[in-house]
């Protein structure tokens, strides 16, 4: 128990400080607060009430809303279901980045891999007519294969030529978004009678089942995500392949001496990382959105990086971090609608949390801690490394 507490102390304190700083920003950027300049006490009160109502809206939008509870307790849980819907793809993209981290690779390309996966799943979903379970499986397989290749290409390039994965994945993200934009202007993908970039809806037979009726978007994808997290935990901690990945991540030179093929490891890791992100895209299309648009990627791939960093690269941590950021995203919409606090405060919170975790010195100084578990250090590597 103490060990667990020690492990989560830093992330939790980082979150608290980030929420506090963001609260200050919300309050003191408000003209109503600034208007009370002459009266410090009234100003403080107003600041507290404004930040408070913003965070209350954040809670109502992400976990439980009493106003929706007129049909009973469970009606009030609608926001929680939305949180899970947003978190599901985040878990998968987060795992993609986390796995790559463990193997010493920085996968900024989850965004592109997510998009490629979504394209694959969507195409199979609206083109072919297959029996019910088979169709979903085929769509998911298409996503995994497309995105796995897209990610694997990065690994292969790195292994064969030394091209840095960060540079290649940044570039491939743009390539994927432009490719998607182009696809959605072609006959094969553009929905009939539409001018805006949107593909046909995937067929009923390929959709993931909804878990709580048609009024809720909550779908079976969350189980797929949790299953994937378990699989990655097993891969990393219980399998030979995972051991090799971690060995290469910890020290590539030593691993090479020990007879592990660094090139193979790099390629494999990126294939799996790509497949995970692509699975995220598939689950999002087949479960929540049902139709491919040019904005399908949202920020799932980019948030994945903060998710993986907050989750300290472990599968369990990633799941928890994804739930947290999913809650912030879902709640942020309610906050924006009801309190004039822009959704973008979520980005600020995310960036601050990761910054504080990366530099524990700040947190240590604020809370006068002697030591915190800093987890795996984010080892710095050069472009040529």
């Amino acid at each position: 128990m103490r060990k667990v507490l020690q492990k989560i102390k830093l992330p939790i304190l980082a979150l608290v400080v980030a929420l506090f700083v963001s609260g200050l920003l919300i309050a003191f950027s408000d003209p109503k607060v600034l208007a009370l300049k002459g009266d410090p006490l009234a100003m403080l009160g107003k600041a507290l009430s404004i930040a408070g109502s913003a965070y209350w809206a954040l809670f109502r939008g992400s976990i439980y809303d009493p106003q929706l509870a007129d049909t009973g307790f469970f009606g009030g849980l609608y926001p929680l279901s939305e949180t899970i819907v947003v978190s599901t793809p985040l878990i998968l993209t987060g795992l993609s980045v986390a796995l790559a981290f463990k193997a010493g690779l920085f996968n900024i390309g989850a965004q592109g891999q997510f998009i490629v996966g979504a394209i694959g799943a969507s195409y199979v979903g609206f083109t072919f007519e297959l029996p019910i379970v088979l169709h979903a499986l085929a769509a998911i397989a298409a996503a995994i294969i497309c995105a796995g290749l897209y990610g694997g290409f990065v690994g292969l390039l790195k292994a064969r030529t030394g091209a840095h994965e960060v540079i290649v994945t940044i570039m491939l993200n743009y390539v994927a978004s432009y490719f998607l934009l182009w696809l959605l202007s072609t006959k094969a993908f553009l929905r009939e009678g539409r001018m805006d970039p949107i593909a046909p809806e995937v067929l009923e037979s390929s959709r993931l089942p909804r878990l709580a009726g048609q009024d809720y978007r909550l779908h079976a994808g969350i189980f797929i995500a949790l299953l994937a997290a378990t699989a990655i935990w097993w891969l990393l901690n219980r399998s030979t392949l995972g051991f090799k990945f971690r060995a290469v991540g910890a020290n590539a030179k030593a691993s090479r001496t020990a007879g592990i093929s660094v090139a193979k490891s790099t390629t494999f890791v990126m294939v799996i990382a790509g497949a995970l992100a692509g699975l995220g895209g598939a689950v999002h299309i087949l479960g929540a959105d049902h139709a491919l648009t040019n904005e399908v990627g949202g920020s799932f791939g980019f948030d994945a990086i903060t998710v993986a960093l907050l989750g300290r690269g472990t599968p369990l941590g990633t799941v928890l971090a994804a739930l947290l950021f999913g809650a912030l995203r879902a709640g942020g919409l309610t906050m924006q609608a009801s309190t004039e606090t822009p959704l973008d405060i979520v980005l600020i919170i995310q960036a601050l949390v990761v910054l504080f975790i990366a530099a524990p010195a700040v947190i240590k100084a604020i809370f006068r801690l002697k030591s915190v578990d800093e987890g795996q250090a984010m080892a710095s590597k050069g472009w040529n490394g």
């Binding site: 950027s29 408000d30 432009y178 182009w182 995310q350």
Partner: protein, 425 residues
């Protein structure tokens, strides 16, 4: 052909050879697709006059098929010339440039068959689109040459754009906005410097997070203040272009280079200064030493981390100044995420230009040209989807880093924190 057996070549020779083969294939492609295959041919009009400059040639009207054929043949000839230069082991940089231009003109004449191409305007627009890329790439050069990876260029540009736009609007004074833009970029760089140099955190992760932070902050204030109180907070007007007497009258070159806003002239100064000082001054020598071999630099009495710290902040200031171009140099007011990934294209230009100032400028100009050409082709309507044109800079960068044609290598200690006596390398 014995000397052309790739097996007997060294690695750089092999890459050059592959480059030659690529040029040859592209030339044939141009001859077949642009010159031979089109069934119909219509005149293309190239316009060379924009405004009040002296007129040398107003328009050039030529049959599209003829033009494509001529330029394709020129491309093929330069390929042969490059092959000859390769055999006698001479540099073929200029020839490669002529090849690229000829290939592009062949393509353009094919794509714009029957249309009007404002040639001078195309190049002028290309330069404008390159300005933020060049500033960003210069920020990258200074930071990375001294050993700190700068992924936060995007954030620094955005911070510069935001601060310059807002200050220029609040105080109704563009010069004030321009003055403080570098400070905004430097502030972001300060965070990068403290966390990367003092705490030794991974610079790529750090840069990424800083970008998220700046996007979050500017979006937040944009929605909270700039939209509701637009007349106070976001009503800046762009600088008017300054025409330099005489120089701006030169046909074609004048309107492109010498009828621009103050920020473009500042860019000429920044680029020139960096190019000269990086290779000719004490600071430049030290900067390069610290980026390539910090231990050796330390041993001759250079304070590695202090120099890196200064350079990272200077880099941020340059990117911040470049950010002002988005607002004060172009449209005046700020809009949400208006840098739109330009910081990453600047990073691509830096890498494509092999971390050298002039290489980066060249790459930025090419990327800017591709961007503008794409815009033009979308307007006049072309056989090629504009999305593929937009992909070009990114694919070019991937080809560059994978060492297919020419090999790029980052400064040896780029991204590796230096600990005194630790011997990082």
């Amino acid at each position: 052909m014995s000397s052309f057996n790739p097996k007997n070549m060294s690695a750089p020779e092999r890459r050059k050879f592959r480059g030659l083969v690529t040029m040859f294939v592209l030339s044939l492609f141009a001859i077949i697709v642009f010159a031979y295959l089109p069934k119909e041919s219509a005149p293309v009009t190239y316009g060379f006059v924009l405004g009040g400059e002296w007129i040398l040639l107003k328009e050039w009207i030529i049959d599209s098929k003829t033009a494509s054929t001529l330029f394709a043949i020129l491309a093929l000839l330069t390929t042969f010339l490059a092959t000859f230069l390769f055999k006698v082991k001479r540099s073929s940089r200029i020839v490669s440039f002529i090849f690229g231009s000829a290939f592009l003109m062949s393509f353009l004449s094919w794509a714009a068959s029957g249309k009007f191409v404002p040639f001078t305007g195309l190049l002028q627009g290309a330069l404008l689109l390159s300005v933020p890329l060049i500033f960003g790439a210069m920020a990258g050069v200074i930071s990375e040459r001294s050993g700190v990876i700068n992924i936060a260029i995007e954030g620094q540009l955005l911070a510069g754009a935001f601060v310059s736009g807002v200050l220029a609007s609040l105080f109704a004074n563009n010069w004030l906005g321009l003055l403080f833009a570098p400070f905004a970029g430097a502030l972001i760089a300060l965070l990068l410097a403290v966390f990367a140099i003092k705490y030794g955190i991974d610079q790529v992760i750090l840069g990424f997070v800083l970008n998220v932070l700046v996007i979050g902050l500017t979006n937040f204030f944009y929605k909270k203040l700039l939209i509701p109180y637009q007349s106070d907070w976001n009503s800046a007007v762009a600088f008017v272009p300054i025409e330099i007497p005489l120089l701006s009258k030169i046909p074609v070159i004048g309107p492109i280079f010498f009828a621009q806003s103050i920020i473009v002239y500042l860019m000429y100064i920044v680029v020139t200064l960096i190019h000269i000082t990086l290779f000719k001054s004490k600071w430049g020598l030290r900067t390069r030493a610290v980026g390539e071999h910090p231990t050796a630099a330390e041993s001759v009495g250079i304070n590695v981390n202090r120099l890196r710290f200064k350079n990272v902040i200077l880099a941020g200031a340059i990117a911040g100044l470049g950010g002002a171009f988005f607002t004060l140099g172009a449209v005046g007011s700020f809009s949400k995420e208006m840098t739109a990934g330009k910081g990453f294209i600047a990073l691509a230009a830096l890498i494509f230009g092999r971390w050298s100032p002039m290489g980066a400028v060249g790459a930025a100009l090419i990327f800017g040209f591709a961007d503008n050409l794409q815009g033009l082709l979308t307007i006049i309507g072309t056989p090629i989807p504009s999305e593929f044109m937009l992909m070009a800079p990114y694919i070019a960068t991937i080809i560059a880093v994978s060492g297919f044609i020419g090999k790029v290598r980052a400064p040896a200690a780029d991204g590796i924190p230096y600990k005194r006596g630790g011997g990082s390398r």
